[in-house]
């Protein structure tokens, strides 16, 4: 088991290393000059001022140093938690900007991932029982997974927000409120949270339901099921076993889907102007704020890596085979 986790951690470590390296490389090796494009946004008239700013940013990027020095400095700054200064919200450090946004993204992602996973699996297993249910649920599931996150978000915002007027469609709380622990504020928070959550939940739910339905059908073909049936075991028991075994690949699937789910959350936030990381990314792109963009990228990668590790731990807890097989006692 130690070996198993050791391997996983090695992969995650390497992934982080690769992510940081990509982050470092892209501004330096992509066509185009990030400093010039930042300056072009600055709208400064005097050429001397432009030159001064250019010198400042060049020094910040460290473009005048040899490449290997630039790379080491980059890591050094990173390890100190220094991701640079945001241009959009000058002069706030990027780290601060991101930390302010992270709770909103997590508040959307965690509940939608976990709830859609549990509900989707239950529902998929249930659908596999009856043919009519299967035939009616399956198409709906496929439509849901095929829906682009932002489109469902737009539809919900339009139908429930604009047309029906039930839910607000922008921001995380009312414009007239200040963050506090009052009932009013929490209520407004929940109201603003619901639609983005619902769109994330629905798309992911369809995917899990279909995945589970297919896994269950596959499991019901397994030898142990045939044996149980030959001994007259009731379907109740058989289904319980099949569900339990089919859930294992779904846990792996959760790890594989993390990237897609995060991407979904980002575009959903953009639709609802929800002040999470997705909103930051949009602002960073529109304001050519490369420090912010890169910082957000690193934060997301770290988050995904941590989530992957949590899923690995969960898998080992659920599947006895990894414990016995990899524990070295067999």
């Amino acid at each position: 088991m130690r070996r198993y986790f050791g391997r996983k951690l090695l992969i995650y470590g390497l992934t982080f290393f690769v992510a940081v390296t990509i982050n470092w490389m892209i501004p330096r090796f992509m066509p185009g000059d990030p400093v010039s494009s930042m300056l072009s946004r600055a709208n400064v008239a005097q050429p001397e001022a432009v030159e001064a700013m250019r010198a400042h940013y060049n020094a910040l990027f460290g473009f005048d140093l040899p490449l290997w020095r630039q790379y080491l400095n980059f890591w050094g700054a990173l390890l100190k938690g220094d991701l640079g200064i945001s241009i959009w919200l000058f002069p706030t450090p990027v780290t601060d900007v991101i930390i302010r946004a992270v709770p909103y993204t997590l508040g959307l992602l965690l509940p939608s991932i976990l709830l859609s996973w549990f509900a989707g699996n239950r529902f998929g297993a249930f659908a596999a029982r009856r043919k009519w249910l299967d035939n009616s649920v399956l198409p709906v599931g496929y439509v849901l997974t095929a829906t682009p996150y932002m489109w469902l978000a737009i539809l919900l915002a339009w139908a429930l927000g604009i047309v029906a007027g039930v839910f607000p469609v922008a921001g995380a709380y009312g414009f007239d409120l200040q963050p506090s622990w009052s009932w009013e504020f929490v209520g407004s928070l929940a109201q603003h949270w619901f639609l983005p959550f619902a769109s994330l939940f629905l798309v992911a739910f369809g995917g899990w339901a279909i995945g589970m339905r297919n896994m269950i059908i596959y499991e019901l073909e397994a030898d142990y099921v045939n044996y149980l049936r030959a001994l007259g075991a009731p379907m109740r028991l058989v289904r319980r076993y099949a569900f339990r075994n089919a859930i294992l690949p779904q846990i792996t699937g959760l790890a594989l889907q993390l990237g897609v789910l995060v991407a979904g959350a980002l575009v959903t936030e953009i639709v609802f102007s929800y002040p999470g990381l997705g909103h930051l990314i949009l602002q960073a792109i529109q304001n050519q704020d490369f420090f912010l963009l890169q910082g957000t990228f690193l934060f997301i990668v770290i988050g995904v890596l941590i989530a992957n590790f949590v899923i690995d731990v969960a898998y080992v807890l659920v599947d006895p085979r990894t414990r016995t097989g990899m524990g070295g006692q067999a």
Partner: protein
């Protein structure tokens, strides 16, 4: 291939005939194929029926669907239907290019890792896992943000380069199990070299599987591209369904109640990707005799 036996009657393999039999009777496959076919025809021939550029200002702004402008017009008086047809074209293009590239990388990595095994496998496996863990869209955001000029080709290129890992994994597993089949050994005993064995012995056995993989990659490339477009990192030189959504959101189509602007592009993407997924299941049922009974 059977030059040794020209006198023997070349029979259609029953397996292939069975597959066809099931294919025509599989509702999922038939429905999925028809939907894809209709959209594909619209994407290929539709733009030819339109005599102006999709971005031209051809009509009065903000008109709901009418007999003249089937899908209405935008805030600026652009023809939404024309944009939709051109957008379909981009969508299919990005899906096909991205899907083909991802499938190609996935196949090379999967075949080599699965066939060679040993340290080559270890190394490729590690690479696959790293790319797999990295959230593709976020990497694409970073890359695209630095690109001043963005085209569909470049978009597809980067999508292909980031979305191959799960395909590589699946193909590796298949190759690994096929490699131990005796006909591979027999080919080696016949003096056939490794690349030829992979190409002519192993790959044909997974052709259905490879096709399914490609369909899924096709679908996911379309979805990723749509997300990129929506964030504002779409192609700078053409129209796409994702960009239409981006424009609709940016110019407050929601608040203005211009449903004809944002419903067609999203519905188009959903229909195409959904049809691809349903086709995939249908094909799986056709190829996999175990599922036929369901």
């Amino acid at each position: 291939m059977s030059e040794a036996s020209p006198e023997a009657q070349p029979r259609t393999p029953t397996a292939r005939r069975e597959a066809l039999h099931f294919a025509l009777r599989n509702r999922k496959l038939v429905v999925g194929t028809i939907i894809i076919g209709v959209f594909l025809v619209a994407a290929v021939f539709g733009p030819m029926t339109i005599d102006h550029k999709p971005t031209d200002y051809v009509g009065p702004p903000m008109t709901p669907p009418s007999s003249e402008f089937w899908f209405g017009t935008t805030t600026f008086g652009q023809d939404v239907f024309a944009q939709f047809l051109y957008g379909l074209r981009s969508t299919f293009l990005v899906g096909a290019l991205g899907g083909v590239l991802a499938a190609a990388v996935g196949m090379v990595v999967g075949f080599v890792a699965g066939y060679r095994g040993g340290w080559v496998d270890e190394l490729l496996n590690m690479l696959t896992n790293i790319v797999l863990v990295l959230p593709a869209l976020v990497v694409l955001l970073i890359v695209n943000a630095y690109l001043g000029v963005r085209s569909i080709g470049v978009q597809a290129l980067f999508i292909g380069l980031t979305s191959w890992p799960w395909a590589a994994r699946a193909i590796r597993a298949q190759t690994f199990s096929l490699r131990s089949r005796d006909f591979v050994d027999l080919a080696r005993l016949s003096g056939v070299r490794t690349p030829k064995i992979i190409l002519r012995e192993i790959a044909p056995n997974m052709s259905s599987y490879l096709f399914l993989t490609f369909i899924l990659l096709f679908g996911s490339a379309i979805l990723i591209a749509a997300s990129l477009d929506f964030i504002g990192l779409g192609p700078t030189d053409s129209v796409s369904l994702g960009l239409m959504l981006n424009n609709a959101a940016r110019w407050s189509a929601l608040q203005l109640g211009m449903w004809w602007w944002f419903i067609p592009p999203g519905a188009g993407i959903t229909a195409i990707v959904g049809a691809l997924y349903v086709m995939n299941v249908g094909l799986d049922e056709v190829f996999n005799p175990k599922l036929r009974e369901m």
